[in-house]
Symmetry: C2
Subunit: 390 residues, 2 copies
C-alpha cells in the first residue's frame, strides 16, 4: 500500500457483528434478523419498483439532477407542510441516498477535522462513524438509557455542560433508535435552547417520525429553522430501506444549500431514480399502509416489551435491553454480553450488541421488532426471554 | 449559520451550467441534452426495474449488506475474469452507488488534506470536486487535448515530472471522457510504470469500458493489482445511469478493503437493492444489447465527428470540441465559449463548457452523442455545425 491509511479511519469501528461471525455462519438456519433496523413489510401497494413501467416513466433509467426529482421535492414539501402545519419551502429540500446519505453530506459540508458533535447516546450505530469519516469527533453523552430521557431541565443542563469551543452541532434522534423514546415538546425545546444559546447546528434525525405510537412527534425544524438539518427517510416509514431514498430539510441559508448540493453530487450523485419515483408514489398513496404498519409495530413492540419485562416503546422499531447481571459472572460487560448474544444466536435470534449504540452500553443489546413478521418476532422474543430467564 | 463553511468547499465549483441557467429556462422547448453523459437507450430487456417482481424477489425492499449483493459480486467477478482473461477475486469487489460513489469512497479512504492526485486533463467533470471534498488537491495535467494523448515516452515523462512529495495517486480514464481516446497497451504501461516507480495508487476509471469502438481496452488492474483501484459502472455500459450502481475492484490488501467498506457504509450504505438486481440481470443477459449499443454509439459518434470536422472517437460517448477562434473576437476564452454555447442553445442544443473538464479548456466544449436518440443527435450536431460555420 503506497501510504498508511488516514488515522481518522482507525476511529471508525468495523462491523459490530464480526465477533459473532463464526457463530452466524455455523448456524444451521438463518437466525431471526432482529439485529438490523429493517422492515419486513414491503412498500405500499403500487409503490414497489415493479410498478414503475418504462412505458409510463420513459426516462426512468436516466440521471436525475443530484438534488432530486423536482416532483418528489414538491410533494415532500407539501407532505411536511401538512404534517407540521407550516409552510416548508421546497428550495430547502435535497433528496439523498437514505438518511445515511443526508447525514454524511451534512458532516462533510459543515465539519472541520477536530470539530465536535454532541451525540446523545445510546445512538443510531452509524452516526459516530459518519462524524469520524471527516476527521471530526463525536462526543457521546449517555443520556437516554438506562431509564427514560431526562426531564427538560436536566437535558438542558447535561447538553450545555458538554459544549466546548470546538462543538459545532448536536445530534438528536426522536422517535429514538434504540430506546423507543419519543421526546415531548418541552424536551425538544430544551435541546433547541442549548443549540441556540451556543450557536450550534441541530442535526434532527427523524427517520422514525412515522412510527410514533403516541401521536405525531413535535416538529423540530420549525422551532429553529435557522440551524436545524431535519433528516428523514422513506426506509422505515414506507418500507423501502433497500431503495436508499431519504432527504434533508436545510436551514434557509443559500450557502448551506450550495454546500450540501456539492457533497451529494460528489458523494453519490443522488438517490436512485426508481427509488425517487417509488417514494413519490408512497407520498401520494401510502397513508393507509402507514397506519397499518404503525399499529402493527406498536402492538408487536408492546408485546415484546411485556414479555421481556421492559417498558413499552413510544415509537421506533427497537427495544434496548439492559443485560447487566444476566450473563455469566466474572466476565467483563463486553464478554458477558457476547455470551448472551451467542446464546440468543443458538436459540435462533440475532441481536445487536449495545456497544454499537455507545461506548457506555457494553452491557446492553438492541432488538428490532419490525425486521421480521409479527409471528416470527414473537417467537424470537420468547427465545430471548428464555435465554434471559424472564 | 453557526460556523463558516470549511474552506475546502470553496474549491469545489458549483453547477457548470449556472451561467446558462437563464437561457435554459427561457428556451421555448427543452434543448437536446448533449451536455450530460447519459444514455438514451433504456437497459436491456428484462433488466428494467419493472421486471423485479416482489413475488420472485421477496426481500427486494430490504437492506443489503453495504458492500453489495453477494450474487452480483460473484457474477461481476466472473464477468471481469472473462473479460480480462485472469481470475478476479470477488473479495476485492465492492458495489457502490455509481462510479461516483466508488471514487468518493476511494478519496475519503486514502487521502489526507493536502495530498495531491495527478488528474489527466481534460477530465470527467466530477473528479476534481471529489478530491476537493476531502481537502486534497487535484493537480491538473492537460495531456489529452488538444491533439491525441501523448505517445508512451512523453506520457511517462509528463506524469513523472508532476510527481511531488504529496502525490498519492494518478487518475486515469480510458475510454476517455471527454476526448474519446482509448489508450493502448504501451500508453497504459507508461502510466502504470510511473505509479510503480513513485509508489502511487492508480485510480482507473473504466466506466466506458463497454463503449470502446476499437476492441476491448487493455485491462489495467491485472498490470498492477497491488495499487490499482479499477472503477466501473452499470450506468453507461448497460443504460442504467439513473439506477446508481457501480463498483470498485480493490488492491488485495485487506486493510484497504476495510477502509473502503467503512466509507461506503457511512456515505450511502451502498447501492439500491433493485439497482443491484437489475445489474445482475444485465450481466446475465445484456451482451446482445451491449453490442447493439456500442455499434450505434460508434456510428453516431463517427457521423458527428465527420460533420464537425474532428477525428472520430475511439470510444466513450463524447466529442471534445476546440472552439478557439470560432467565437466573437475580443472576448476572453470563457466569454467567447459562453457566447457559442448560448448560440447553440438558441439552436436547440445544450453542450457542456470545456472548463468543466479542466482549467486549461476554457476554449472547448463537450458534446455527448449517446444522450439522445441518433436522429435527434444528428439534427443537434447539424445545428452545432451551423453555429460553428462548419
Amino acid at each position: 500500500m503506497p501510504r498508511p491509511l488516514p488515522p481518522r479511519l482507525a476511529a471508525i469501528g468495523g462491523s459490530v457483528f464480526s465477533r459473532l461471525a463464526a457463530q452466524i455462519s455455523a448456524a444451521s438456519q438463518p437466525p431471526a434478523p432482529l439485529h438490523v433496523g429493517d422492515t419486513h413489510r414491503p412498500p405500499p401497494p403500487g409503490c414497489h419498483v415493479e410498478a414503475l413501467a418504462a412505458a409510463t416513466h420513459p426516462g426512468l433509467h436516466r440521471y436525475l439532477a443530484p438534488q432530486g426529482h423536482p416532483g418528489l421535492i414538491g410533494d415532500l414539501a407539501a407532505h411536511l407542510s401538512a404534517r407540521w402545519g407550516c409552510a416548508v419551502d421546497p428550495a430547502r429540500l435535497l433528496i439523498t441516498p437514505g438518511a445515511t446519505g443526508a447525514l454524511s453530506a451534512i458532516a462533510a459540508a459543515t465539519l472541520e477535522p477536530g470539530d465536535e458533535v454532541l451525540v446523545i447516546a445510546p445512538y443510531w450505530p452509524l452516526i459516530v462513524g459518519i462524524i469520524h469519516t471527516v476527521g471530526a469527533v463525536p462526543v457521546e453523552l449517555p443520556l437516554f438509557a438506562p431509564g427514560p430521557p431526562p426531564a427538560p431541565a436536566a437535558l438542558r443542563a447535561a447538553l450545555a455542560a458538554a459544549v466546548g469551543p470546538r462543538t459545532v452541532a448536536v445530534y438528536l434522534n426522536s422517535p429514538h433508535n434504540p430506546t423507543g423514546a419519543v421526546l415531548d415538546v418541552a424536551q425538544m425545546d430544551a435541546v433547541v435552547d442549548v443549540c441556540r444559546a451556543h450557536d450550534l447546528y441541530l442535526w434532527s434525525d427523524e427517520v422514525y417520525a412515522d412510527l410514533s405510537f403516541v401521536g405525531p412527534p413535535p416538529p423540530v425544524a420549525p422551532r429553529a429553522p435557522e440551524r436545524t438539518f431535519a433528516v428523514g427517510s422513506f426506509s422505515k416509514g414506507w418500507g423501502m430501506a433497500g431503495y436508499r431514498c431519504g432527504w434533508v430539510l436545510l436551514p434557509p441559508d443559500p450557502a448551506l444549500r450550495g454546500a450540501l448540493w456539492k457533497m451529494v453530487t460528489h458523494q453519490s450523485y443522488g438517490a436512485a431514480h426508481p427509488a425517487q419515483l417509488a417514494a413519490r408514489a408512497a407520498l401520494a398513496g401510502g397513508a393507509a399502509w402507514q397506519a397499518e404498519a404503525r399499529a402493527e409495530a406498536a402492538a408487536v413492540g408492546a408485546a415484546a416489551a411485556a414479555r421481556l419485562g421492559v417498558p413499552a416503546p413510544a415509537g421506533g422499531s427497537f427495544l434496548f435491553l439492559d443485560l447487566r447481571g444476566c450473563g455469566p459472572s466474572g466476565l467483563s460487560e463486553d464478554d458477558a454480553t457476547h455470551e448472551i448474544l451467542v446464546r440468543c444466536l443458538d436459540a435462533g435470534v440475532l441481536l445487536a450488541p449495545g456497544r454499537s449504540c455507545g461506548q457506555a452500553y457494553a452491557g446492553f443489546a438492541r432488538l428490532c421488532f419490525t425486521a421480521a413478521p409479527p409471528a416470527l418476532v414473537n417467537r424470537a422474543v420468547d427465545a430471548v426471554a428464555g435465554v434471559l430467564g424472564r
